[in-house]
Symmetry: C2
Subunit: 315 residues, 2 copies
């Protein structure tokens, strides 16, 4: 599938950090950075931009904030072709706290929002553009949005200057026909914008839905090393690069860092396909209850979790 417009974004540290509160050693983050540079990845998302009112440094690591000095500790002035991204959640960052691009080593700010926050997301993304950044809007949890609300949000995004809009399967609850319908809706509403895709693996569909995205015209593709990410994780970067035949991508650096960093990390953090994540995904529910169950003493009681979720649905 050779389409030179396709860009791949690695969000190993940002999305993987949801599993360990971004407590990655610097060596890990540096190795991810070097692997992204060597393998020809287009963007690396190194964490979130957040204010200190929203999170305590006692609880979360540096990549929940992405202070410029922390990022430079890893990448220096980043004199490479790899672009660096950070994600901003609505309400967890003050727009005025974002430095002008010329003072920052970041290239892109991706704004994540729920549908009721779309106006705030457009404001924040355009604010970042005015400061010199590339931007995207990533509309989360679209699997729970009513059609009327989605249409209105798309109309607002269409009128904005934001050039990239993401299809996000936050709960890992969508399959190919749903992906196809939404991409076609996004493309019709936003004919001049790039569509991105960010999938989760609750039903083992993160990669295949990303392929569906490619087939239907998505040109920004999110992935993570060995699929690390919240709960069931994300589209695995190594599978995606095995599929894409673009000569700019190299697989060996990806296998090297998986061997060196991700396989050992799997012994500490249990992301990936597990039955509780399947259950929340198939029920179109946020994975938080599954993550809580997986961290509890009763984690192997799969039937117990199934009953628990069915009980909640009956309310």
């Amino acid at each position: 599938m050779y389409r030179k417009e396709i860009k791949v974004l690695d969000c190993t540290v940002r999305d993987g950090g949801l599993m360990n509160n971004w407590h990655f050693p610097d060596k890990f983050v540096k190795d991810v950075y070097n692997a992204c540079v060597q393998s020809g990845i287009d963007y690396m998302e190194i964490g979130y931009l957040s204010n200190e009112k929203s999170f305590s440094r006692k609880e979360v690591g540096a990549w929940r904030f992405c202070d410029d000095e922390d990022v430079r500790r890893i990448v220096g002035d980043n004199k490479t072709k790899l672009k660096l991204s950070a994600m901003a959640d609505i309400g967890r960052i003050d727009p005025e706290d974002i430095k002008p691009k010329k003072e920052s080593v970041l290239d892109m700010v991706r704004v994540a929002c729920y549908v009721h926050q779309i106006d705030k997301a457009i404001f924040l993304a355009e604010h970042c553009m005015d400061k010199g950044y590339e931007t995207t809007i990533n509309l989360m949890a679209v699997s729970t949005v009513m059609e009327r609300d989605l249409n209105e949000a798309l109309e607002d995004v269409a009128k904005s200057r934001v050039p990239i809009f993401y299809l996000v399967d936050s709960f890992g609850s969508m399959y190919c026909e749903q992906i196809e319908l939404l991409i076609n809706k996004y493309k019709t509403a936003l004919p001049k914008k790039t569509i991105g895709i960010h999938m989760h693996n609750n039903m083992q569909l993160a990669f295949s839905n990303t392929v569906t995205g490619i087939i239907h015209g998505c040109n920004m593709l999110d992935a993570t090393l060995l699929g690390i990410g919240r709960g069931a994780g994300n589209c695995p970067l190594e599978v995606l690069l095995s599929f894409l035949k673009n000569p700019k991508f190299k697989l060996r650096p990806v296998y090297e860092i998986i061997q060196k960093q991700l396989i050992p990390l799997q012994k500490e953090i249990h992301w990936g396909y597990h039955i509780p994540y399947l259950i929340t995904g198939a029920m179109n529910q946020h994975p938080r209850s599954a993550m809580k169950w997986m961290n509890g003493e009763d984690k192997d009681n799969l039937v117990g979790f199934y009953n628990h979720m069915l009980d909640q649905k009956d309310l």
Copy 2:
């Protein structure tokens, strides 16, 4: 996706046995049987039919042979709606050794073959039909078959009495557009037959390719509990049943046996997505070299395996 023609076949014991030489305790096989009955599965494949010239009972367990007395030890006379299947490989069973259906508790014999064995497969399958069994032909490794040879095989199958023909992704190397093309080819060549689908998970596509199969008209769907199977494993039964909304299927018995039998078994047998299986799948190679690597001392040397496979390709 409600289509009442859809049948689900569990091949946990047959395909999973490729990982432990069919050394399952009777209790495991009985629990699988009971779970299949309770969850409304249509067929359970309990193993292979083989002769004792091909395999030694010192090396492989009872489910490589499926003697009638062994099967009855588990299922009695199987007075349930669940049908029982066994697979026959060309050359590893003598047709005359297959008992007439009226003396056997099996309902179906599925004949697995490579493309050059298609005549033998048709002969064996029709022989089984004459003895009273339901039958299928499962054409393996179609991802390596040249178009001309496949067309000829399909013409032969079209002329046969065999009612079901399977699309099999033996190496886990195909993605949705390839699946769609082959299903359409099979349907065009075999308009009066049922098309089945049996996928492997090397590129995390076993379930999504099965969904692609459903969308394009496959009505026999293979799956296994927690995706157990050779190498990267199969389409997970629990994900498939979460997707199918047919009221005849029940999920709870599936979660119960996964909790009771499959999760503990995962500590002994390492099926599922691992990088060496991805590498063979993406290269359209048999997983045997990856399975050998995964069983060796160097199994965590992923880059070593990648280099090893690239070296072989250069020859």
